[in-house]
């Protein structure tokens, strides 16, 4: 920090907002009413989007950034941070969201990618970015591009947690694999990993020392129940995104609150059991193998 000078949009501030969301639940909302329900339930932030992922799946077609009017309405309604999604590589959608003044941008595979070669250069922006990842290399590529928060991709809109679990386990196993090496084998292993994954060696070295990603890492994609959320927390995630899981269930307000409470007490099965009682129907789930499009395969 420069002496005596006020600075904005620094990496510390960008990563810091995600740190303040740790242990919390970020909920997908499509209008101001849903945003209010999410805030009342105890969400740490809302993700404004036009359609929840399960509807995007059902409707098909190209999914894009939401109408700025809707995002403004949500920002005016809630006092918690508001996030919104842009298509992979669509840096003008990102410029628009920055002009609106959202608190975080999700460069998301749930929307239809706009560029099949490049992701957004996120370090060019003042607003911080969160990005999805399926493995350590992908997470570090996004961080190298300037992402200040990572989430597992999971498989959004399915109500099926299996892919989020898989992505979280892969990231953990890859970190552990590098940590288990020692001496010159470790130095060589880190160098090879950095080369193969096209990421700076310093990022890999940092991950090996810390035993975790250098930014907050949430779970996302397929979380539908309090137990799903607690599972992801026990696997070491810093918090959870719930997309279709809340507003596609039979009683969104009650389920949202239950998931928030389960995330706080993720390591206490008695609390998770209690909050799981009488929630009504969870969102309808889908088998991953039967999907026409796997969103997690978008991005690289």
């Amino acid at each position: 920090m420069t002496k005596g000078k006020t600075q904005r949009n620094t990496p510390k501030l960008k990563k810091g907002l995600a740190q303040m969301m740790k242990g919390g639940v970020i909920m997908d909302v499509v209008n101001a009413d849903q945003a209010r329900i999410a805030e009342d339930a105890g969400a740490v932030a809302v993700m404004a989007l036009e359609r929840v992922p399960s509807d995007i799946r059902a409707d098909g077609g190209v999914a894009r950034m939401s109408d700025p009017k809707m995002i403004h309405e949500i920002m005016a309604t809630v006092s918690i941070p508001v996030m919104a999604k842009v298509r992979i590589g669509h840096f003008v959608e990102a410029q628009v969201l920055e002009a609106i003044g959202v608190d975080y941008i999700d460069e998301s595979e749930v929307l239809t990618p706009a560029d099949n070669k490049y992701h957004v250069t996120k370090s060019d922006f003042k607003v911080p970015f969160v990005c999805g990842a399926t493995c350590l290399g992908e997470a570090l590529r996004r961080i190298d591009e300037g992402a200040c928060m990572i989430r597992t991709k999971g498989e959004a809109g399915t109500g099926n947690v299996v892919e989020a679990v898989r992505h979280m386990r892969i990231i953990k196993e890859e970190i552990a694999g590098l940590q288990e090496l020692s001496g010159s084998a470790q130095a060589a292993g880190m160098k090879k990993f950095a080369k193969d994954e096209r990421v700076p060696l310093a990022l890999v070295e940092g991950v090996v020392v810390d035993g975790r990603l250098p930014v907050v890492n949430f779970a996302a994609g397929g979380i539908a129940t309090p137990a799903d959320a607690a599972l992801m927390m026990q696997l070491g995630c810093d918090g959870v995104f719930v997309g279709s899981g809340i507003f596609k269930s039979s009683d969104p307000a009650v389920r949202a609150k239950a998931i928030v409470e389960a995330v706080m007490h993720y390591d206490d099965p008695n609390v998770v059991a209690k909050v799981s009682e009488g929630l009504g129907e969870a969102m309808p789930g889908q088998e991953i193998d039967e999907l026409e499009t796997k969103y997690a395969e978008r991005g690289w």
Partner: protein, 207 residues
Amino acid sequence: MKIGILDIQGSVEEHFEALRKLRGVEVSLVKNLGGLEKLDGLVIPGGESTTLSKLIEKFGLGKGIQGVIKRGGVVYGTCAGAILIGKKVFGEGGVAKVDEKVKPLGLIDIDVSRNAYGRQLDSFEAEVEVFLKGGAAKVPGVFIRAPIISRIGNGVEVLADYEGEPVLVRQEVPGGGVVVAGTFHPELTEDLRVYEEIFLGYSVTRI
């Protein structure tokens, strides 16, 4: 001394890592009444004040937090934590309208306005002048969607200000407990002086 971090949500690990470096301090994470009973000091971390407020109420933790002060301990709220321990909370409409999304615990005689500097794009880092026992010092101040302390009552001492606004305040309550509210995040810096001042400077002799 035993210091707990209220482990509901937010910058819990960051406070834990910072306090672990202080000599003579035993740090723990607490999320139930039993854990709160054993503490000499408590940090309510940064996070989302609406979320924290709802979960404190749901799990009945308010009494346990008050208990720390009643026993002569120190409660230090940072950012969202500062919002939670004041008397009144105001929202974006200024001090005209009480923000009912947060139910403050009323442990220190201050009022706080949420998100008073603006949204994330208005978050900032700046040096903050702190009035320590040993004299004035500059510490790094990290302000993230920070609140402003809009009123301080009698007996509330200003420990730091930024551009004329109090950003760290302290009140000794009858019976010997101490409540401190700060709108910036020492847990996101390497500078431990604010913690030393709050937890070691004032309380170590008392407990």
